[in-house]
Symmetry: C2
Subunit: 413 residues, 2 copies
């Protein structure tokens, strides 16, 4: 988990200045919609052209950026040399363990997915050590593929559908049946996940919903940098992104929206409370209400089955989705009132169901959110599919390098 602020609150030594400016320039290159020239960067950052040149020199040497052919420009003057994020520099390795699949992917600095593997398997009966072993094998293959493409894997992040510790201990992953699983220790034997690069931890473990939100952050339309991302799976998790940064809570356990009460005296929940959202908008509840209780569908196809039925006009399914959307809307309205967010993303299993969920969610928001009159809340489906968490995990590694390029550069000198 990223405990580091954008700027460490330590001593500002001389080198900090360069480190700050490396991150600044690199960030502008990443954000730009077309390859900027050094002069563009100088104008946009406020640095002098001389400084930008020196900084870019470092970035080029460290293979973080590359020069491209200048975009033909009207008017006189020496043609600019465009700068882009390197396609052959460091890359992030993203891993995911979920109820019925393992996934691994590699994302480069520019956010492109350069490798992607999914292995379907019911992992509930598999012991954690074995599941992680299989994952490590996939990771080794992914590293090799990345290396073939000229990329240097610089760190990995693992998404787990459960509560994760600072140290990577999985305290509880109910749907997977895991409890107190020391993931880093179990993966320590696998070299694919322990190679260390300065400035980037070899492996971080985090909640699936958190990483899916991060995936959405840099896959989704840029601009909306504050949103609530809801992953509707067997359980319901949420990732909260504020100003382009994931909010993790005091211990990293934020986002348990599935247990927000929506009917305080309602159905009992396995968490011990009553009337939790999960009991009204979780997969089991929706399937039961739609009359598919015994179907025992794999978790990630259930949503598509529901969407099919809804498209066909099945009354029970439509009613079930309406009720789930209303429950979701009640919880979301509370969140929006509390946090003042302007965008809600329906992700995971909710994404294909968005056409039927959005109207009741919006209805609840518009009734219940005090400030909805001044500025409306957008509800939209996630742009990434089921692999949002793995891609988000890989992206989190990449983001870390972009945010603090100093470590990577020091490592390569």
């Amino acid at each position: 988990m990223s405990r580091t602020a954008a700027v460490p609150v330590g001593a500002a030594r001389q080198g900090s200045l360069r480190e700050l400016n490396l991150a600044l320039v690199l960030g502008r290159i990443a954000d730009a919609d077309r390859p900027p020239s050094r002069a563009d960067l100088a104008a946009r950052t406020g640095l002098t052209r001389a400084t930008v040149s020196a900084v870019v020199e470092d970035l080029l040497l460290g293979r973080l950026v590359a020069e491209v052919e200048p975009a033909p420009r009207a008017g006189a003057g020496r043609p600019a040399r465009g700068l882009v994020l390197a396609g052959d520099g460091p890359a992030g390795l993203g891993l995911e363990v979920n109820v019925d699949y393992l996934a691994v992917c590699v994302v480069d600095l520019a956010g492109r997915v350069r490798h992607h593997t999914v292995e379907r398997a019911d992992l509930r009966p598999v012991p954690p050590a074995e599941a992680l072993g299989r994952l490590a094998a996939l990771a080794a293959a992914a590293r090799a593929d990345a290396a073939d493409q000229g990329l240097t894997p610089a760190g990995a992040a693992l998404a787990v559908p459960g509560l994760v510790d600072d140290a990577g201990l999985v305290r509880l992953a109910p749907n997977l049946g895991w409890r107190d699983v020391p993931v880093p220790a179990l993966l320590a034997r696998h070299p694919a996940l322990t190679e260390h690069v300065d400035g980037v931890p070899p492996l971080v473990v985090d909640n699936e919903a958190n990483l899916a939100a991060l995936g959405e952050l840099h896959a989704g339309p840029s601009g909306a940098a504050s949103f609530l991302h809801i992953s509707g799976e067997v359980g319901i998790g949420a990732g909260i992104v504020l100003d382009g940064r994931l909010f993790r809570g005091v211990r990293g356990w934020s986002g348990e929206i599935g247990h927000v009460p929506v009917r305080p005296d309602g159905r009992p929940c396995r968490c011990g409370g009553r009337g939790c959202l999960e009991r009204y908008a979780g997969q089991e509840a929706v399937l039961a209400a739609a009359g598919l209780a015994g179907a025992d569908l794999p978790a990630d196809t259930a949503a598509y089955r529901l969407a099919e039925l809804a498209r066909a006009g099945d009354a029970a399914t439509l009613a079930a989705l309406h009720d789930a959307g209303t429950a979701l809307g009640v919880a979301v309205a509370g969140v929006v009132n509390l946090l003042d967010l302007d965008t809600v993303v329906l992700g995971g299993g909710y994404a294909p169901l968005e056409p039927w969920l959005r109207p009741p969610v919006l209805a609840e928001i518009s009734h219940r959110v005090l400030t909805a009159a001044w500025s409306p809340v957008t509800v939209r489906p996630a742009t990434l599919g089921t692999q949002a968490a793995a891609v988000g995990a890989a992206g989190s590694v990449v983001r870390r390098i972009l945010a603090r390029p100093g470590g990577w550069l020091a490592h390569r000198s």
Copy 2:
């Protein structure tokens, strides 16, 4: 509203280095439990003693810190000269308009309240311009008093029980009867609130609950730097403090916990929704349930009256408080599940009622919060009294100077 991050994401020029270290050293002086020496600061910040000396020199010249007699120390060696925040430097002016009082206070760099005035008056029938005029008169007196004590008022913050714009426009303050009141424009004629100091805006307007949370942040026990502060007044507002920083939401309208649904099909609320927390734990609801519906008590004495009755064992009051606490607990459980906070502070009118509210709130939390088993949630009363918002407002000005001393120093050179 503080839009600026701790470190602006602009170009890191040469001067930025000094600015960063000024803030770093000043922060350590502020946090220390006893006056640190330059050598202590060097050890704690990682800077060299030479740099610390130079930085401290600047701070002394700018009247931000002062030297004090060394604390007698065992062992040999030249005695250290202790450094403390100056008691005669800049100060923050805190203002509050509420339903039945106006308040003004002055807080110095060390957080001490150096001036404090409250003017009781029912402000609902008073036009905003007149209310603000009276406030400005109090502010002028406070400035004069501060100047007599050697302080330089360096900026002001105003707390309002309502939704405030980035520009200081009060969009809606329902209990005060304000709507679209352009506070800065109305106060522009009053010199006490428009004198400008570099790096500190002359007047910021913010929500009362937000500023009360900030007040609690630096009055409360240090260490708990992430908490939810709930101001139970006529309405119910919350301030969310994360890692020592107030979280304001996308538009600065976070904290509307009063309209979080706790009984989705319950009592209609004036916000247009149903079953909002305010209808179950707001002052009116509690007074009605306790049988004091018509009493028409001033808002800030209602809580004390209820506490009296509860202490005397009045059955209706005890039941009313239990029910309010349960509703509050439902809402708070949702918030804690979502944000993973470990501390909840009962402030405003809830503070004196804490003995009766805490048990039901804790009961709901322990039932409903998934992670409560691993790490308990603390529920405690606010340490600041009814003046939390005014003190917090003044404190926010001071914090801004401490966080970016560069502006103040430039202004004084």
